[in-house]
Symmetry: C2
Subunit: 199 residues, 2 copies
């Protein structure tokens, strides 16, 4: 299985985490954004959106981070990371979707605006409004649960972790969110939790 990533990509880091926690062997392919490899014709045959991550496993091609998480969890992770029964599966998907919506188009894009000056999805202030909705929802959830779904670690936590952790770089400090701060530490304390790529 080839896993296409970029070392600065939070969406790529989600896959790195899940693969490490489960202990899956795979071939990592670094797609160099600085060299614009993600927009090359060859890479677009794998991922027509021109983004990372992507997975190629035999004839199967996946080009969305949530779909990749679902695939890894279901193929290698037994029932722990994403159960197949309707209610628990949907409970996990609530958070996986939040990660691709208010977290990406809020926490992450505010950060990209502040650190790289790219504001292609609204002003930094507009993205911070979105991002704080996500942080508020997570903080409220953690008032009664240690993990986002099902009472144990799932891909809900892994999908949300990367851009929540870097929220302060988007001008949203986590000091007002003590439960989130504790949850980030719990995640990182899981056995085999991997660091981000060295940059």
């Amino acid at each position: 299985m080839k896993v296409y990533v970029w070392k600065h990509s939070g969406n790529s880091y989600k896959l790195r985490v899940l693969l490490a926690l489960i202990g899956v062997e795979y071939e990592e392919v670094m797609v160099n954004f600085r060299m614009h490899e993600h927009k090359s014709a060859d890479y677009r045959k794998i991922n027509p959106r021109g983004q990372v991550p992507a997975i190629v496993d035999g004839e199967m091609v996946l080009w969305d981070s949530a779909a990749c998480l679902v695939y890894i969890a279901r193929k290698f992770g037994g029932k722990q990371w994403l159960p197949s029964a309707p209610a628990p599966m949907a409970e996990v998907m609530n958070w996986v979707s939040l990660a691709g919506n208010e977290m990406l188009y809020g926490l992450q894009y505010a950060r990209r605006g502040l650190t790289r000056g790219i504001c292609s999805a609204g002003t930094v202030e507009q993205m911070q409004v979105n991002g704080r909705i996500a942080l508020d929802v997570v903080e409220a959830r953690l008032a009664t649960q240690d993990w986002l779904a099902l009472g144990h670690p799932t891909i809900a936590d892994i999908a949300c972790f990367p851009y929540v952790e870097t929220a302060p770089e988007g001008g949203m400090p986590l000091a007002p969110y003590p439960r989130i701060t504790a949850w980030l530490a719990r995640c990182k304390a899981l056995p085999q939790w991997p660091a981000r790529w060295q940059t």
Copy 2:
């Protein structure tokens, strides 16, 4: 099962379609956006994001459209709409995620900008760039397949339908996308396909 919707919401329409195609009985609760009911304290107890749709089924609460589609498909739809095996499930999720990403933050928000003057996620032109990525990916896919995933109708098609159909209202005419135009017609020809709410 209570399903919270708003008649102008494309994300709500996704649930209306899937529930009708499968033939599920449910209680529809209209959340009046014009009266700001989606931002009320009572409704936020159900959906802390302050959006539609949401589902309450016994003790289970879902507040994301993709999670709601997953729940309905898995609980009532057998294997057709979302299989549980890793590869086909992930193939469907590629498109469900695209619907919540480039389609919502592209096709739909460009439309909202043009029709209601709300540009909270970038300029209309920026959103159209995003939207055209989605349309190009769908058009390319339909060159070899009649349906977005697995060779038959799934929640991939249902998740993508609403905002693709209304793309022209966002300044992205569908005339350059003949395969999309044919696919929209195929979707609407499915038995029990429901119209949008009368407005």
